[in-house]
Amino acid sequence: MQTETLIKMANQIGDFFEAEPDKAQAQKDIANHLNRFWTKDMRNQIAKYAKEKQGAGLHAQVISAISAYLKA
């Protein structure tokens, strides 16, 4: 899938959890959402991108969520 599509989707998810005051919780929630609703390929693709491109274009929270909690 186009990485831009995934970035857009991930950032939209990040936007929703932005309002969560507990940052660690927000990161868990973001990763949990990706783990529950994205296919393995989609998760791996975004994780690879986040790693290789230092998360360029991704929200900070999303980057942290991916590196800390995303299921491979």
Binding site: M1, M9, I13, D15, E20, P21, R36, F37, T39, M42
Partner: protein
């Protein structure tokens, strides 16, 4: 003595029989009254009419103007009775029972009066009973018999009504005034049952007649719901199919296959032919009412366009080849195996539809999960109500509406957000309008002035919050802000029923000044004081019920908005009893059911996540195949991957993604890139034009199964004729499964339901047998609730405690700018259904033959557009051309259209934007520009050529005999 035998024992009242007409509605009073009717003692609820009580005791009083779907009127004077100790002859339909009275329904004096009344009626009635379409089904005829009319003293020489002309303008029913007895049942049905007020009695005395506002029915306000036809005791209002085919000889109860109201109907048959569909009085969702679609628009089932033989082809540029079922199934199976070997399991998937029965959806997802070996299965709810599933699961714990439809009769304030019930859910809208006429308050949040705002007789919205498309979440925050900051929260409810911590976080969030109506006023385009007044009304006006539709879900923040709605309902204590609740109005008949049946890529039937080890173990044991713990692809993901050549085979049952999904060109490119597209449908739909295998499906009249409506009501679909294509849809799926090496050995759809019940806790008590007994069942149906659950979350939320979510408004990225300065939003109309594949093949097209764009006169003037002009609409995704109508129903800056016709290409312009949580497309907001044009868009021209060629491929298919060498 006979007398003694009856009067010495209290006669137990006969049980209610929905097939009988009791003359007046049931009384729901709790106190009982005992009286004596013709020597029989009966005890009935206070407020019951003498007529109704008599019928219950087994005595039929003659009647003409009364029928139990309507309030009594007392005009025909045929139902007179004598009451001991009272003077005169009161009408039994308008006289309520009283304690201890003795009623006589048959005396010689009464017989004389009744005969006199009948004589007058008959003297002005054509005596062509033998050739009349209602012969044998006419109450006038019955009454003439019942009162013993033998002779009519007045001749036909005098003035009469026999020469009046018929009105045949309505495509489905005829109005023959010469047969009218002016009982006004039709007028009252149009008012009380339907709420349209299209009919009146004009004139007085002898000159009085029924009139559709001095116009033909077709030119009047009539919406063709059929309520008047149903109520008419004579042949005056009569279905044309009955006039043509004669009266039916047997009847089977089934469920409408159109919208999410899920009306129950009697298919009245002659052999294997449907003569008419009449609404079932005992139907839990519709109580004997109907709309034009279910009542009349079922002719598509026998339309000549139906394809009834399987077809295959190598390439979509080839003509279709007609083959036997075995060949088609084996070809499909061999392609699936080939693709699996070449590209892997994850390059394959299935799509089900809300038009499928529960049983069909269940076997399809089972095929994909257990046989394809992937969770790549999705359903069209993806593009409509997936945010409802997500949002309600998060907040209250169950992905379904909380109420029954009847609950609205106890609502005091009704808040409708982004739904248009009179058009999308007409039968429920009639019930809602009844409640509104009784005085319930109405708040509407919609960018457009839907009919309920001020275009429905005797109904008027107290507040219309005409927000800009795409700002729902800001609105719900503003309303919540008022509730929280003005001390209107039902704190004891929240403390007892919800997670207090989540409430506190939410409360502090919405209380922020930036969420006040004043701060959001300009983003929303709604005056702050109106929002404040509406919020106060909702929070303090008694039972508050929220009804919402696709105007909530089909946004980039659709799921956020669903949660926002749940927050508001919980904060105001409006969940868990009758009259309140969170009520998603589902578009298609089985949206609820298809989601319940596990057709989403991340969950099994009963909303259990695929990664849940217990669920996985349960289904692996039941199905005997290893299952994947990884969520599968959603429809948009499938399409994206297909376009890149990484998704190759699709089994698409009853769904038409090429028309119903956004950004058509993206969809068709994806379809063109696949190697095996299998479409199962009644017609060569838009998606089938890109298919390699076509499995002809069966219509709802030709199969057994169940649909689940918006109130979680599971209703039976019953086979009334043999499938023209040779088999029911689940059988096709089972055959495909077998060809792939996995036997699904069901003998009947009921066995599929038995399997569902065994594997799904909320369906545990459901079976076809129980459905036969109860008529319908609202899930959860289990040991605790063996007859189902009308209202959910009564003492506790399904999730335990309700959870509040912070709902930050994030404006959509689909923004207007100089190039695309207007917002296009989409919707639907009464006479057409979804992609229109069915309704376009009925006479409903007489109401809506093309999709039209509504544009505000101000925007039109700026662009030199006049009424009826062709306008080009371009967006970031594409361009199409439609005809314009100028109306102030839409606000300046917003245009509106429907999407029922494929050539309109409304989805050519909608974009890939989607809901953050579920990828439900943002159908409701597209930035566009509009210009006057004189010809069709390039897409439309290309579409025309392409679809003409495809239709020719199907019409001139190669039969086996004429098969050419390849």
């Amino acid at each position: 003595m006979d007398d003694i035998k009856y009067s010495t024992h209290s006669h137990s009242v006969n049980t209610y029989d929905p097939k009988k007409d009791y003359g007046t509605p049931k009384s729901i009073a709790e106190k009982n009254v005992t009286l004596d009717i013709d020597g029989v003692t009966v005890s009935v609820p206070e407020g019951t009419s003498i007529m109704h009580a008599a019928q219950l005791s087994g005595v039929s009083v003659p009647k003409l103007c009364a029928t139990d779907s309507l309030e009594p009127f007392g005009s025909c004077r045929l139902c007179l009775v004598e009451i001991e100790g009272r003077r005169g002859y009161p009408a039994s339909c308008t006289t309520p029972v009283a304690e201890g009275i003795k009623v006589h329904t048959q005396t010689s004096k009464l017989a004389d009066v009744r005969r006199g009344v009948m004589e007058l009626y008959i003297s002005d009635h054509p005596l062509d009973c033998l050739t009349c379409a209602a012969n044998g089904d006419c109450e006038l005829q019955d009454m003439a018999g019942a009162v013993g009319l033998r002779d009519v003293r007045y001749g036909y020489e005098g003035e009469n009504h026999l020469k009046q002309e018929k009105d045949e303008s309505n495509p489905y029913f005829t109005f023959d005034p010469s047969k009218c007895i002016v009982c006004s049942r039709c007028v009252r049905a149009c008012e009380e049952t339907q709420g349209t007020f299209a009919l009146t009695i004009e004139g007085r005395g002898f000159g009085s007649k029924v009139s559709a506002g001095n116009a033909s029915f077709m030119d009047s306000e009539c919406v063709s719901c059929g309520a008047c036809v149903q109520a008419c005791p004579t042949a005056t209002l009569m279905e044309k199919t009955v006039i043509d085919a004669g009266t039916p000889e047997h009847s089977v109860t089934t469920t409408c296959a159109y919208c999410g109201v899920g009306c129950s109907f009697n298919a009245e048959m002659k052999g294997q032919e449907v003569v008419r569909m009449t609404p079932n009085k005992d139907g839990g969702a519709n109580h004997g009412h109907s709309c034009v679609k279910g009542r009349f628009a079922w002719g598509y089932a026998t339309h000549k366009d139906r394809i009834t033989t399987p077809m295959i082809r190598k390439n979509i540029t080839d003509p279709w080849q007609e083959v036997s079922w075995d060949e088609a199934i084996n070809y499909a199976a061999s392609e699936i195996k080939r693709i699996e070997a070449k590209y892997g399991k994850d390059a394959m998937g299935g799509i089900t539809s809300s038009r499928c029965t529960n049983e069909e959806v269940y076997v399809t997802q089972k095929l994909v999960r257990a046989v394809f070996g992937t969770n790549n299965v999705d359903t069209c709810a993806r593009v409509c109500h997936s945010p409802t599933g997500y949002g309600l699961k998060q907040t209250i714990g169950e992905s379904a509406g909380t109420q029954t439809f009847d609950s609205v009769m106890k609502s005091d304030v009704i808040l409708i957000i982004g739904a248009n019930p009179t058009n999308g859910h007409p039968v429920f809208a009639s019930q809602m309008k009844r409640r509104l006429r009784e005085g319930a308050k109405l708040i509407i949040a919609d960018p457009r002035a839907i009919d309920l705002v001020e275009n429905s007789p005797h109904v008027r919205a107290d507040y219309h919050l005409n927000l800009r498309p795409g700002t729902n979440v800001a609105l719900i925050s503003a309303l919540a802000h008022v509730v929280v900051t003005e001390g209107l929260v039902k704190e004891d409810f929240v403390r007892e029923r919800c997670e207090w911590d989540s409430f506190v976080v939410w409360r502090d969030f919405v209380a922020k000044p930036e969420n006040s109506p004043e701060a959001l006023e300009s983003a929303l385009g709604v005056k702050a004081e109106i929002m404040r007044a509406a919020a106060r009304m909702f929070a303090t006006g008694g039972n508050g019920a929220i009804y919402y539709g696709l105007g909530v879900t089909e946004h980039s923040q659709g799921s956020t908005m669903v949660m926002g709605i749940a927050n508001l309902a919980m904060a105001t204590g409006n969940v868990g009893r009758e009259g309140v609740g969170i009520n998603p109005l589902r578009g298609q008949n089985n949206v609820q059911g298809s989601c319940d049946m596990g057709s989403m890529p991340h969950e099994y039937p009963g909303y259990r996540h695929v990664s849940d080890p217990a669920a996985k173990a349960l289904f692996e044991a039941a199905w005997g195949r290893p299952l994947s713990v990884e969520p599968g692809l959603r429809i948009p993901n499938m399409l994206d991957l297909a376009g890149e050549g990484r998704f190759k085979a699709l089994y698409c049952v009853g769904e038409d993604i090429a028309q119903s999904d956004p950004n058509t060109q993206h969809v068709t490119h994806a379809l063109e890139s696949m190697e095996c597209v299998i479409v199962q449908d009644l017609f060569l739909n838009e998606t089938a034009m890109y298919a390699h295998v076509f499995f002809p499906g069966a219509s709802f009249l030709e199969k057994s199964g169940t649909f689940t409506n918006a109130e979680r009501r599971i209703s039976p679909v019953r086979r009334v004729m043999s499938p023209k294509n040779g088999m029911e849809d689940w059988e096709i799926t089972a055959k495909l499964s077998k060809a792939l090496g996995y036997e699904m050995s069901y003998a009947h759809a009921s066995e599929i339901m038995d399997e569902i019940a065994a594997l799904t806790p909320t369906f545990k008590g459901v079976s076809f047998k129980k459905l036969d007994e109860l008529g319908s069942i609202q899930w959860p149906c289990n040991d605790e609730a063996p007859t189902g659950t009308p209202t959910m979350h009564i003492d506790e939320f399904v999730r335990g405690k309700g959870k509040f979510f912070v709902t930050q408004y994030v404006p959509t990225t689909e923004k207007v700018n100089a190039k695309y300065p207007l917002i296009l939003t989409t919707g639907r109309i009464l006479s057409q259904y979804n992609v229109g594949a069915q309704t376009r093949r009925t006479k409903n097209v007489e109401w809506h033959s093309e999709d039209i764009v509504e544009i505000h006169p101000h925007d039109a003037e700026e662009r030199g557009v006049k009424e009826g002009d062709w306008i080009g609409i371009s967006s970031r995704a594409g361009e199409t051309v439609l005809r314009a109508t100028l109306t102030e129903r839409v606000q300046p800056g917003v245009i509106y259209t429907t999407f029922h016709h494929p050539e309109s290409g409304a989805n050519v312009i909608t974009t890939d934007n989607s809901d953050w949580a579920t990828n439900c497309p943002e159908f409701k907001v597209t930035a566009v520009q509009v210009t006057r044009v004189h010809q069709l868009s390039d897409w439309q021209k290309h579409y025309k050529t392409f679809s003409d060629a495809q239709i020719a491929f199907a019409n001139n298919k190669l039969s086996k005999k004429t098969q050419q060498p390849a």
